[in-house]
Amino acid sequence: MSDDIQGQIDAMRRRCNAAVFLASLRFHLAVGCVAAAVSVLAVRGFWAGGNRWLPLLGASAPVAFVAAWLRTRRRMVSPALAAGWLDRRTDAGGLLLALQDVAPESQAEWTPTAMTIIDRCDRPLPGFRAGRWLVRLLPWAAFLAAAVFVPQRDSESAQARFSTIGGQAVARLESKFEEIDKLGLLDEQERREVAEAIEKLSGEQAGAFDQKNWQALDAANERLDNRLAEARHALSQADRALDKMKGGASAGSGASPESAKQLAAALSRLAKSPLSKNAPADLKRQLSELEKRQAAGKDPLPSDPEELAKLVEDAKKFVEQSEGEMCQQGGEGEAGPSGQRSAGQSGGGGAGQKGLDDYDLPGKPEQEYDISKDKGGDGQGSQPPDGDGGWGRGGVNRGRGDAPMIWGDERKADGMKFKPRELPRGVIDQKTGQVVGVTVGNPQTGQPGSGGSGAAESHDPTAGGRVNRHDYSPAYRGAIRRYFSTGN
């Protein structure tokens, strides 16, 4: 073939190879843009590192060039194909194709004709369509650019969100444990076990707070609540027995045998209670002698009226002081000067109040929170809470529903059904109606609808003797939330 025609075909071939390279480059750049954008989004979404790796994206561009070049090498345009494209473009009618492999004399004869045809064509070589090339690459590049501008994921806040519910619950348990521990209501073994449980639950906060964690948390909470309830019950009974004894003495009728018996039982229970460790030395001695007399089968109360009066007086002071301390530990600054907590606090709680009364105490004696027992404290704690349900202000009292509730994501609990679960034996002996007070477990619960609420929740044997209490798994928080959110 003549040099002129061969030169035209070679030029066409080079141009076509360049176009093939550009097409391949566009493909690889598009793939690279998509891959880089997905990587950026993945890193931004799941990795809390910095952005120092971003320049690596620019460094990966040469990879696309190399890949495009390697791909182009396998798809190089052959001279025959370039001749065909040139033939079509110049409308040579196949002459350029025929001249590819013909005898020299034929080439010499037909080359001028072929050159005339090529020269007649305005643009025998096609131009590059740069605009089209860029437009086709633009969407993928825009995708990458948009991915780069996605804000970095805040891992700390996400982590905090993740462990908010569990962390708050553990923090409240820890706070409750410290306060009850200060009161000395826990023996050494219980103290150690609860501390270990709190430590373990604190370690679980970083991960998923699963059903076992919630159960362990509930168990520890209930153990502390039971201890607190037992102590309060002991104080309450002692207080009532002392009042009755004092009332009889002041009326001049003297103490009835039944009152004396109740007082002896109450003081015996108080002596066995961990609270007695905090009693004054004199009262400790008297209680110790009371136990000795009871162990010896004698009348546990002192026979000397003066000594009995002193014992009643000291015990009364200690009981009032202990109740005051428990209330102070439960809500510092919320109780009145008399140390009695207000009914308003017990009924509705209040935003920001954090104390023992915020905790769900099983079997909490109802009369302790009766408004008639309010000693007229004038501190902050005596003020009714704002909002719906404030005592003395009418409206619907939703109880602790007024407290701020923070709900996290509903925990996945496949296969679980929403039904009440009977708890293990609690502190009330169902046969006698007496408080056993030594078991750590939960109270015996009645069937739903078998007893009333309110007074029936009291541990007082005369007030129903059964506790209707249903322990719902935290998995049902969604249902509880819906219950409250619908204004029921």
């Binding site: 097409a23 492999d101 037909w110 096609p126 131009g127 369509r129």
Partner: protein, 338 residues
């Protein structure tokens, strides 16, 4: 490979030009039809002319025979025509040596055979042409007789008269290199006909080519180059008519049986002849495109759905031509087409 020289092409064009010029005097206003008929002859193929009565089909064939100076026979196909009426038969003759069978050749023993209204004969009679058209010889009672060279069959058929007609078998249709549709004449052509031909007869022309000159034209046609890329295009075109050629939608999906290899051979041969007519030393894509319909469409066997969709072989070929790239690979999109 050697391309035809410009002198050879000029000589070929001059020879063929005489025939074309003469035919254009006989058949007015149908230059394409004349060109394709001459192409068929130069490619040494048989031609099937289809058209309504009175459009000049028979006159075209008769004119060709006169211009080429070839032996011409006309056979009017009728339903009672027998194969021996075409091929000839043995007749018992009395001679000095006694009685013996003597072969009396039929009308097929001619250079140019006009099979007028070929679809009026029964398939049995039509089949008598099979061996003659393909092998250019006939066998009668076990004896094979060669036909004179060159040998052409130019058949006509009427597409509207279906009563008493027999559709041509696929095997015979496949033996026709080109099937040419004869269209109706335009107003201007009709005006020229009635003003120049008072009795309706075309001008009586003498032969413009001798047998040697016709042979020379054949030799020149055979030397027209067929570039590999064009041959590849023809192959892909024929393959695309088959269902396994990838046609799943469009008219090509209605093809029951695609074109045979004869179609590719015919297209290449006819392309060479057309290239010579156009003064080119080689076949180009344009020649293939121009001849694809008459060379391929009649060979396609359509399925029943084609009739429902009103699709015929020509629409199939047109759709293939529209979708099939001339070169195996298109230019990169990054390059401008203009």
């Amino acid at each position: 490979m050697k391309l035809l020289s410009k002198d050879e092409i000029q000589r070929g064009q001059e020879l063929v030009g005489r025939v074309v010029e003469g035919l254009n005097q006989i058949i007015l206003g149908k230059r394409d039809l004349v060109e394709q008929a001459v192409v068929g002859l130069l490619a040494r193929g048989h031609i099937l002319l289809e058209g309504l009565p009175g459009l000049g089909k028979t006159e075209l064939v008769k004119g060709l025979s006169r211009l080429l100076g070839l032996g011409f026979r006309r056979v009017q196909f009728t339903p009672d025509l027998l194969p021996s009426d075409i091929t000839g038969t043995y007749i018992l003759q009395e001679s000095a040596d006694g009685r013996r069978f003597v072969f009396h050749p039929g009308p097929i023993f001619a250079n140019l055979v006009l099979a007028d209204e070929i679809n009026r004969a029964s398939p049995k009679t039509q089949s008598a042409l099979l061996e003659a058209m393909q092998e250019r010889r006939v066998t009668v009672l076990g004896t094979t007789h060669d036909l004179p060279a060159p040998f052409f069959v130019l058949a006509t058929q009427n597409p509207i008269e279906l009563e008493g007609t027999y559709p041509l078998p696929e095997a015979q249709i496949d033996r026709f290199m080109l099937k040419l549709d004869v269209a109706a004449a335009s107003t201007e052509v009709l005006e020229a006909i009635i003003t120049t031909r008072q009795a309706g007869q075309p001008p009586a022309l003498s032969a413009v080519l001798s047998a040697e000159e016709l042979g020379e034209a054949f030799a020149i046609v055979d030397q027209v180059a067929l570039p590999p890329a064009v041959a590849n295009y023809i192959s892909r075109l024929v393959t695309a008519t088959h269902r396994d050629g990838g046609a799943t939608t469009g008219p090509a999906a209605h093809v029951k049986f695609g074109a045979s290899p004869r179609a590719a051979i015919a297209l290449a041969s006819a392309g060479r002849a057309l290239a010579l007519l156009r003064g080119k030393p080689n076949v180009g894509f344009d020649e293939v495109r121009a001849l694809a319909e008459p060379a391929v469409a009649h060979r396609l066997v359509m399925d029943y759905s084609a009739r429902l969709e009103n699709i015929d072989g020509r629409s199939v070929v047109r759709s293939i031509l529209a979708s099939l790239g001339e070169l195996e690979q298109e230019m990169p999109e990054e390059l401008s087409r203009k």
